[in-house]
Structure formats: structure tokens, C-alpha cells
């Protein structure tokens, strides 16, 4: 990581005044990547409530809190390490570390304390299987993805996407104390959803990644190859979304939601894949990117709704 403590950050002709490292509370909150955190909280929550078994509601809430803080710790460690490339990307230049609001060392300390605290709390209060998975998730995101894959391979987000896919598995393990096929299927849905989601973003942000020297697929292999890969991963994603139903963990409601969502997702991906030329893509990548967020949220909402309709209220979460 390069030193980011220069006085001025230049970004596309505009100068961002450096702050003095005395970050406000909201700067530290931003370090946790709250938007990413919200998706983690939601998918982990679905993992907790849909898992077979019993967990006291309070313990479920504590597990969710620990998972959320662990996700925030990952975000802080990512922002600490990536400050140099965040500073040259338009989307990330105003983050607390590159903007100078928080010193890199403070971000590192904040991330490490939260990471250790969240794993310890989850282990002591809930169970060590879930804590182990959470620790692995943080390690995978901060070390495997951020420090290694992101800057070295165009498949960075394919493998690195695993870190975003673990939260429902951690939630599931908080209840069952282990991993099974259904929790793996929840993992696989997010794992296979990540490449089309991020590559759609990188199609209309490739200039950013190029400036930062991040080997995203459009930068390294070109837009045509990225379009093909989006299509192939979409085709791989669709059947996996039906696995929870095939395993008996979801029924007609989830299946119906999945059919509709998959149809729209495939349509948006097809629009990208079948465009006559790279220039003819237009707004298609933006549409897929925006829809992909709704897609994942609705897919897990389907599981949640199914659980709410078919399970006797509070029977599964009682102490």
C-alpha cells in the first residue's frame, strides 16, 4: 500500500483537500462500508432464520451483530489496504482514508480490533463453528481478495466473491453448529451472482480500474470477453438458485420468485451478451448492475417469506 498522506489528492482535474486524520464518527462508520454491510446482515439473517434447529432470539440477534461487525471490520481493512487505488478511482476517492479523514494506521487498528472482537464474541456467545467461519470470511476478504487477488488476476472477483457469499453460511452455522448442503447452496447463489454483478459495474467503470491498475476483466481481456463471461456465469447461476427448493428448504413461493427474477436477470444479461458491438451496449450494464442488487435481495426475501408462511411463528427460534 502506498503512502496516502500527501497534502492534495488529484482526481480528474479536481483537487480534494486533505483532511487531518481527525475523522468524525461518521467517517469511522463509513469505514465499515455500511451498504455492503446491510446486504451481509440481510443474507446472514436469512441464514439464521431459515436454518433448521433452535436458537434463542436474543442469541440470534447477537450472532447477527457479530456478523455485521465482522463484515464492517473486513470493509475497514479493505479500505486501509486499498487507500492508494481508492484515491485514483472516482467512485472511491472520497472514502475516509484516501480523503485523509482517517489515518491509514487508525483504519488498520480499527479493522483489526473489530475483527478480533466480532470473532471472539460470536465464538463465546454462540458457537465456535460460526466464529471460525466468520474469521475465515474476514481473512478471505482482507487477505486473499484485497491483498492478493484484486491486484493480480482478472478473476479477482470470482474467487474473492466467496467472502461475500459466506454470511448466510455463518448465520446458518450459528444455529446448527455446522455446514450442510442447503447452506452451501445459499453460498453458491451469492458466489455465482457476484461475477455478473461486478463485471456489469466494471463495464461502465472500466476507466476507474484502468487508472488504478486493477486488472478487472474489461481492462485485461476486453469488453467482449467480459460480456461473454457475464452470460456464462448467469447461465451457471440460474440452476443453482433452484437448489434450495430441490433440497426441500424452499417451496412454491420461493420457486415462483426465483423463476421471475431469473427470467429478468437472464434478459438483462442477454442484452449485454447479444449487443451487436461493445459500443452498442448503452445502458445495459447499468441496468444489469442495478437489477442484480434487487435480484439478490428479492431471492433471499423469497426464502424469508417462505419461512414466514410455512413455519409456525417462533417455533424455530425459541429457546
Amino acid at each position: 500500500m502506498s503512502d496516502t498522506c500527501s497534502d492534495i489528492t488529484e482526481l480528474e482535474g479536481q483537487s480534494l483537500p486533505r483532511l487531518n486524520g481527525e475523522g468524525s464518527v461518521s467517517d469511522y462508520f463509513a469505514l465499515l462500508k455500511p451498504r455492503v454491510m446491510s446486504l451481509v446482515i440481510f443474507t446472514a439473517f436469512v441464514g439464521i432464520v431459515t436454518a433448521p434447529g433452535h436458537i434463542h432470539p436474543w442469541m440470534g440477534a447477537m450472532a447477527l451483530l457479530a456478523i455485521a461487525i465482522g463484515a464492517g471490520a473486513s470493509g475497514a481493512l479493505n479500505m486501509w489496504y486499498d487507500a492508494d487505488i481508492d484515491a485514483v478511482m472516482k467512485r472511491t476517492a472520497k472514502r475516509p482514508v484516501p480523503s485523509g479523514a482517517i489515518r491509514p494506521g487508525d483504519a488498520l487498528g480499527f479493522g483489526l480490533v473489530l475483527a478480533a472482537g466480532s470473532v471472539f464474541v460470536l465464538g463465546v456467545l454462540v458457537n465456535w463453528a460460526a466464529a471460525g467461519l466468520l474469521a475465515f470470511t474476514i481473512f478471505f476478504y482482507a487477505v486473499v481478495y484485497t491483498m492478493w487477488l484484486k491486484r493480480s488476476t482478472p478473476h479477482n472477483i470470482v474467487i474473492g466473491g466467496a467472502s461475500g457469499a459466506f454470511p448466510p453460511m455463518v448465520g446458518w452455522a450459528a444455529v446448527t453448529g455446522g455446514v450442510d448442503l442447503v447452506s452451501i447452496s445459499l453460498f453458491m447463489i451469492i458466489f455465482l451472482w457476484t461475477p455478473p454483478h461486478f463485471w456489469a459495474l466494471s463495464l461502465f467503470r472500466s476507466g476507474d480500474y484502468q487508472r488504478a491498475n486493477v486488472p478487472m476483466l474489461p481492462v485485461v481481456a476486453g469488453i467482449g470477453e467480459t460480456r461473454r463471461q457475464i452470460w456464462f456465469y448467469t447461465l451457471a447461476l440460474v440452476p443453482v438458485t433452484f437448489v434450495p427448493a430441490a433440497l426441500g428448504a424452499a417451496g412454491w413461493l420461493y420457486t415462483s420468485v426465483a423463476i421471475i427474477l431469473n427470467a429478468v436477470f437472464v434478459w438483462f444479461a442477454w442484452r449485454i451478451y447479444a449487443a451487436k458491438s461493445d459500443k452498442a451496449l448503452g445502458e445495459a450494464p447499468k441496468r444489469l448492475f442495478k437489477f442484480s442488487i434487487l435480484y439478490l435481495f428479492m431471492m433471499f426475501s423469497g426464502l424469508l417469506a417462505e419461512w414466514a408462511l410455512t413455519v409456525t411463528p417462533f417455533a424455530g427460534i425459541g429457546g
Binding site: 475523522g23 468524525s24 464518527v25 469511522y28 436474543w58 447477537m62 456467545l125 429457546g319
Partner: protein, 49 residues
Amino acid sequence: MTMEYRKMTDQEAARRRKRNVAIGLALFVLSILFMVTTMVRVGVNMGAF
């Protein structure tokens, strides 16, 4: 050897104060959470008898 320190501006001092209050609040909330968790666990274990 003498060390030279830069005096914080009022804005910096205010930010630091707010951060300290936030840390204090977070520790207070955590202690409440752990206390309630202990009570819940004790309750669950008592219920098992």
C-alpha cells in the same frame, strides 16, 4: 530532545470529543448486551433443569 506538538484546531478537538463519546457509548451498550446475554444464557440453562 524536545518534541514539538501541533495544537489541535477547535474543529479537530470537537471531532475527537465526539469520537470519545461514541466509544464510551459503544462500550456502555456492549456491557449491557453482554449482561443481558448472560441473563438469557443463565435463564436457558436453568430452564433445562
